[in-house]
């Protein structure tokens, strides 16, 4: 059995760790609340944007924008959103698993893949895997601004407009509730419209100045807003995942401490017993 002193120092170090995990849990909990508020604040824009796009898809537009036309798929683009920091349970790992399984489907068909990584973890992961990383953004902080993402998204949009990629996917975590986050893959481009046959009445917007420019702007904003929403949601996911992970780490530390304390008491008891028996034996010898 280890000496009492060693056990005591072990307990001390675990208590320190526990303090840290406890603090991280509380920080994550308070950040999560803010992140959730932000998530609800950004939702209306994404929703309204989707509405407008939906109206647009139903309108009998005079031209079809390239972003709305399906074409043969030779190369696809992925925008993958992860957190900057680790210590948040299986959040990023699950997302990568999902991404890789999706990518394998494309890979097996001989379709090439371009990746845009948002968040430090994604950058590191795809670098290690040797993926074709075309753009990246990281260190967005807890309050990301859409300005920081515009460039990164534009790389993919340009690539799509030039015909380098034929489909664009977004991979991010969906915030179900505090306990559950689900990695989801959604298709951003081309924007799917209903068939012409389904349209009941033919109407179209008045476009000022002309439809091409507006559609271009609108679809760009649409993709940007979806990515931004993904980033904001991912932060809420990260914080809640971290809170849960740190809570269980704190609980585990507590368990270890209590078992070590039992061990320490036993060791102490053994030392006292030994001392007494030595004294008794010494006294008997006199």
């Amino acid at each position: 059995m280890a000496g009492a002193k060693e056990i005591r120092s072990k307990i001390k170090s675990i208590k320190n760790t526990q303090k840290i995990t406890k603090a991280m849990e509380m920080v994550a909990a308070s950040k999560m609340r803010k992140a959730q508020d932000r998530m609800t604040a950004t939702r209306p824009y994404a929703e309204k944007m989707r509405n407008v796009i939906c109206h647009l898809a139903h309108a009998h537009a005079e031209i079809k924008h390239p972003f709305m036309v399906e074409r043969e798929v030779k190369r696809v683009g992925y925008i993958v959103i992860t957190s900057d920091r680790g210590l948040c349970g299986g959040l990023n790992v699950n997302l990568f698993k999902k991404t890789v399984s999706e990518m394998m489907v494309h890979h097996d068909k001989g379709i090439e893949i371009d990746v845009v990584a948002i968040g430090r973890k994604a950058v590191e992961y795809f670098k290690r895997r040797g993926a074709n990383l075309v753009a990246q953004a990281s260190h967005l902080g807890d309050t990301p601004h859409i300005e920081e993402l515009i460039g990164t998204v534009k790389v993919m949009l340009d690539s799509f407009a030039e015909g380098n990629i034929d489909e664009l996917y977004l991979v991010s975590n969906d915030f179900v509730n505090t306990m559950t986050q689900k990695p989801v893959v959604s298709k951003l481009l081309p924007v799917a419209g209903p068939d012409d046959a389904q349209l009941k009445h033919h109407w179209d917007y008045i476009y000022e100045p002309d439809s091409k420019v507006i559609l271009e702007t609108l679809l760009m904003r649409f993709v940007e807003s979806q990515v931004y929403q993904g980033v904001v949601e991912n932060i809420a996911c990260e914080m809640s995942a971290r809170m849960i992970a740190m809570k269980s780490a704190t609980d585990n530390a507590g368990d270890i401490i209590s078992s070590l304390e039992t061990m320490y008491n036993k060791a102490r008891q053994a030392a006292i017993t030994q001392e007494i028996s030595e004294i008794v034996a010494g006294a008997a010898a006199v």
């Binding site: 670098k127 075309v134 859409i146 476009y207």
Partner: protein
Amino acid sequence: MLIQVDIVSAERDIWSGQATMVFAPGEMGELGIAPRHAPLLTRLVPGEVRVRDENDEDTSYFISGGILEIQPHHVTVLADTAIRAEDLDEAEALEARRRAEETMADRRSEMDYARAEAELAEMAAMLETIKKIRNRKR
């Protein structure tokens, strides 16, 4: 007769409610939108969106550009939060691409990478603090 108005930006909900009339700075000139306006899509230039309520009182919201969608009983203003310009976007895109290339080209030992990263994180934190202090002074 009223028209439903929603003014939203990517980062937050700005205003939504009923109005009798809405004025918005369209790219081709200011638009006055009354209920039952024809469906219209236009880009907005930086300026103010004025909303007139039932009591004939105007409320103004500044926007730095965006998109305006009009349906007969519904007006949606999708406001930009950032100042947008084609060349500005282009510069951002180049920057993002350069970062990725740098990462891919960086084949030095993990140790170097870790150190560089730590330094970078520190600089970022420093910048953040400077920004915060500046904001406070303002």
